[in-house]
């Protein structure tokens, strides 16, 4: 079943503040084979915060997404500044676009990631592909 057309343009409540600790950044860097040097967090680190917002979208019963049918199609980040240890980040997700192609919903999301003062840090654009039940995998 396709997701409701009214989803387009909808903005979800901001995620709870996420505190960027040195330990978290070190773990993330180590998982991808990098060594954290005490400076900026790895460029894709903000996905941790954006992922929280995307999970809230996908688990919202009013949206009608079946989690196991979702594939990450595309990702783009634009940065105002790098993420640093000590940041307290929240993500506010808006569904920018929604279209149906071949029985799948193509959901374009934009998560605005801001710091504790509400200043922009990064915008994470994710395209989620929600495959319909009859769509061959």
């Amino acid at each position: 079943m396709p997701v409701d057309a009214s989803l387009a343009g909808r903005t979800f409540p901001p995620t709870a503040p996420y505190t960027v600790t040195e330990e978290r950044v070190r773990e993330f860097a180590a998982a991808t084979g990098s060594a954290y040097d005490g400076g900026a967090a790895p460029a894709t680190f903000p996905i941790v915060v954006a992922f929280g917002a995307m999970t809230a979208l996908m688990e919202d019963p009013s949206v009608g997404i079946a989690l196991h049918r979702v594939v990450h199609g595309e990702q783009r980040f634009t940065y105002t500044r790098p993420v640093a240890v000590g940041d307290e980040l929240t993500a506010e997700l808006t569904v920018d676009s929604l279209r149906q192609i071949g029985g799948a919903d193509i959901i374009g999301t934009r998560s605005e990631i801001t710091d504790a003062e509400g200043r922009p840090v990064c915008t994470a654009f994710a395209t989620l592909v929600h495959r319909g039940e009859d769509t061959p995998s």
């Binding site: 773990e27 993330f28 084979g33």
Partner: protein, 131 residues
Amino acid sequence: MNTGDVLPEQTYTVTRADLVRYAGASGDRNPIHWSERVATSVGLPGVIAHGMYTMALAARALDTWADGPGKVRELSCKFTKPVVVPDDDTGVTVRVKGTVKQVTDAGTHVALEVTCGDEKVLGQPKAVLVA
């Protein structure tokens, strides 16, 4: 970096252990990234790396070329082919290449190529670094 520069290829190994660490570090615990049973049940050839894991490797290459993290102003890609990670100690190799397309006031535009075996696993991966 100057327009036309071909940046040195970076080679990374990805193992199942890396995916488990990344699942914990990123919060993405989707079982297709650690369970063969679940991965094959949804039609995948086996356990696959998180698309964001592969994108993180592209970012790691950018950090190497830019002499440190914090220089990326834009980063984007499509997730076109899965990186299948075998259940062994050897893992799989991901290669990241880059070419400087142009240098403007907005920054240094880099076109990437990310491959596993003979296949490009990311579609149109590109980045803008601070000039």
